[in-house]
Amino acid sequence: MAIESVQCPSVELSKIAVSETHGENSPYFAGWKAYDENPYHEKHNPSGVIQMGLAENQVSFDLLEEYLESNQEATSWGKNVSGFKENALFQDYHGLLAFRKAMASFMEQVRGGKAKFNPERVVLTAGATAANELLTFILTNPGDALLVPTPYYPGFDRDLRWRTGVEVVPIHCESSNNFQITPDALELAYSHATSMNMKVRGVLITNPSNPLGATIQRTVLEQILDFVTEKNIHLISDEIYSGSVFHSDEFVSIAEILESRNYKDSERCHIVYSLSKDLGLPGFRVGTVYSYNDQVVTTARRMSSFTLISSQTQFLLASMLSNKEFTQKYIKTNRERLRKRYEMIVEGLNKAGIMCLKGNAGLFCWMDLSPYLKEATKEGELEIWKMIMEEVKLNISPGSSCRCSEAGWFRVCFANMSEQTLEVALTRLHHFMDRKRSK
């Protein structure tokens, strides 16, 4: 950055601006730095760092490209670009109706038709990042608490807390029961928050879970819903990975539970979704808040003015997602390819003597290196993490960055690379484990 004059640091910025809550100064980002400085390339840099810390879905782009090839007019602005002006001028925060209908329909298809979605409840935001922050502004006051099961997506610390002033209180989950959320854990987190004089406003779950790569079971969802109802608080269900479940019948959305209860008490429930993971389009910034609470829908819609989706992108995706032939094929094929990748990585890790949590969704696996830690502490975990980064040249995410209460777990992404690269990564890990065992 060109700095033309010496800047006096005397002018005051806000507390939010100088706080560290954006989260980027954590040691976790050292891995990213290592990757940026020495990125793996099959031909040009075969000994570089392989990025396994990025939960991107790159396995189904051919399907998207194929769709664009065969639907040019529908996705551009028509013959003679006649639709351009209307599209460029459209800034209504309700969003393009055709796009909302397409999103609602896509969300239904992802859930195998087991739940219905009303386009009038779809509020559009520029990504799930914005959706989660927006909901937090609507449901909480500064200093209030949201309960979030650990381990959780590291970005939540910024998205939920930074500008809103809310506190995130962890619901501790343990490997002994596969990190499932229990009523005891919920109660413990709630009491902990209230003992610190925080008003608990809601529970935020990610289903399927990031970083666990597993869906939440129906019985657990029912328990969580009962818990929030009893405490009269909100439930946010981030279902951003709902289309990445390997077997469609293994995912239960909160939408299904609510439908089965005839929508009783549903005004406390809100779903967050995005096309960043299922469709592999994080650059397009397509997020949504789906709320069963009318006032939340109205307010969220007004707030979405700060973070609307480009009408150009709404137009393109409305066309794509309302093409049922495309969406059915995509959802099915995407699942299969992700499942294959998952099986490949788990098999490879097993061969290397590494176990993973049994997963059934997502773009990553939850790897257990706890038997190999020098000490069962965060330091022990970071030590092995550093070794893997420097010796094995793999950037993976340490569980501590996900606030995991047990040391030694790592999130390893598998869908953001080619199969060949994955093979290379697994081979490297295999050799590393061999060396470790022979010592």
Binding site: S5, Q7, S14, N232, S305, I309, T313
Partner: protein
């Protein structure tokens, strides 16, 4: 499927349940009237004409032509010549380098290339709406304030205050000196804040101004820069209408001030908000920009941009378009020319019926002086008159009170969001209204005089009757809206 609403007021946050969204104001009546009865030349020629929306619709032909000739700018086209996957995956909050370069290039050319912008200081946001909120989050704490000259864009009340908890303190500007911002009014506002124990963190100006359509002269900009430097507060310049100045060479950006007078102000206090919504006519594409001379603000605003990044599909298209200098230079020139033409058409026609407006040469609107049409110089009278403009004249214009104008009787009238034919219809309606009002005034005066004279002698009575007959002719405005409004 719909669930009955049963919400305890405390179930949602304070932000969610207060009026900070700004939509409970009476001004929405104008929008409602338009939505319920929108003008259409064939289907609804007596409908309400929308003159409350500051959109720039004058140059879409140029853009459409460019798009047709440049299929590579669209990610959907097979000739795209780049990797769709790369664009779709790119979510780096720095933004595509080519996007930042193109925006810096465009911003420079809009200012006649008199000043250069560093692409590394370009930060994205969800439209200028998102930019303003982000800047407020970066510069001020809850309860602290920005000074804002009145009249100002109503959206600021939401954008700067709603979720941030920041206050806005008006710097009152008056028609007597053409609504210019004076040092006196700045000091006045600053001191009022101090007395109320409110910490002022910055001054926000819109240059060119919405709703005035004027831009700041060099001396005033220097004064503002010196003022903010002296108080050690930030200076935020919303230059969203920079490309709408009819004579581009007259416009002075704050960027030029700090280049030409580097010692006038610590540049780490200076921040520019920009967008493509007005200059290009792309409000739907949500291309908001924060350009700060403060490294920390660039850094933090960039992190915050995660909450409102520009779609890479749009970044890519904009990058292609705005790095085409032939297109850009021609577009800027044509847009200015067409806006000037519209502006002159309005001024000329309305001058014919004695309607004045603030002398201006920027923006997508007029600041029209309708003070003499108010029954009394109050905001109540302004609202009453406004309602009659909507309901009787069928024009949705924006009353000055919605812009926090200190004086009643001023109205913002947009002119760039319609075609030429609709402009003529709108002008005719205004002219008819003025003529009818004049006739009514004459009639009212005459009737008053007649009443006064009716007990006088016969001759005088005959004369008065004749005068009355003249006025009560078939052409008299018995159906004047003003008459109905008064009843």
């Amino acid at each position: 499927m719909e669930v009955a609403l049963n919400n305890n007021h405390k179930f949602l946050s304070k932000i969610a349940t207060n009026d900070g969204h700004g939509e409970n104001s009476p001004y929405f009546d104008g929008w409602k009237a338009y939505d319920a009865n929108p003008y259409h030349p064939q289907n609804n020629p007596s409908g309400v004409i929308q003159m409350g929306l500051a959109e720039n619709q004058l140059c879409f032909d140029l853009i459409e032509k460019w798009i047709k000739n440049h299929p590579e700018a669209s990610i959907c086209a097979p000739q795209r010549g780049f990797d769709f996957k790369e664009i779709a995956l790119f979510q780096d909050y720095h933004g595509l380098p080519q996007f930042r370069s193109a925006i810096a290039n465009f911003m420079s050319r809009v200012r006649g290339s008199r000043v250069k912008f560093d692409p590394n200081r370009i930060v994205m946001s969800g439209g200028a709406t998102g930019a303003h909120e982000t800047v407020a989050f970066c510069l001020a704490n809850r309860g602290e304030a920005f000074l804002v000259p009145t009249p100002y864009y109503p959206g600021f009340d939401r954008d700067l205050k709603w979720r941030t908890g920041v206050e806005l303190i008006p710097v009152v500007c008056e028609s007597a000196n053409k609504f210019k911002v004076t040092l006196e009014s700045l000091e006045d506002a600053y001191n009022k804040a101090k007395q109320s124990n409110i910490k002022v963190k910055g001054l926000l100006i819109t240059n060119p101004s919405n709703p005035l359509g004027t831009f700041f002269d060099k001396e005033t900009l220097k004064t503002l820069a010196a003022f903010t430097n002296e108080k050690n507060i930030h200076l935020i310049c919303d230059e969203i209408y920079a490309g709408t100045v009819t004579n581009g060479n007259d416009f002075v950006s704050i960027a030029e001030i700090i280049e030409e007078f580097p010692t006038i102000c610590d540049r780490s206090l200076i921040h520019i908000v920009y967008s493509l919504s007005k200059d290009m006519g792309f409000p739907g594409f949500r291309v908001g920009i924060i350009y700060s001379y403060n490294d920390t603000v660039v850094n933090i605003a960039r992190k915050m941009s995660s909450f409102g990044l520009v779609s890479t599909q749009t970044q890519h298209m904009v990058a292609s378009m705005l790095s085409d200098n032939d297109f850009v230079d021609n577009f800027i020139y044509e847009s200015r020319t067409r806006l000037a033409h519209r502006h002159d058409m309005f001024t000329r026609e309305l001058a014919q019926v004695g309607i004045g407006s603030l002398e201006s040469n920027a923006g997508l609107f007029f600041w029209m002086d309708l003070r003499r049409f108010l029954k009394e110089p109050t905001f109540e009278a302004e609202m009453t008159f406004w309602r009659s403009i909507i309901n009787e004249i069928k024009l949705n214009v924006s009353p000055g009170s919605s812009f926090h104008c200190h004086e009643p009787g001023w109205f913002r009238v947009c002119f760039a969001n319609m075609d030429d034919a609709t402009v003529m219809v709108a002008i005719e309606r205004i002219k008819s209204f003025v003529l009818e009002t004049r006739m009514l005034e004459m009639k009212t005066k005459a009737m008053a005089k007649t009443k006064k004279q009716c007990w006088q002698n016969n001759l005088q009575l005959k004369l008065s009757s004749r005068r009355l007959e003249d006025i009560m002719s078939p052409h008299s405005p018995l159906n004047s809206p003003m008459l109905r409004a008064q009843n």
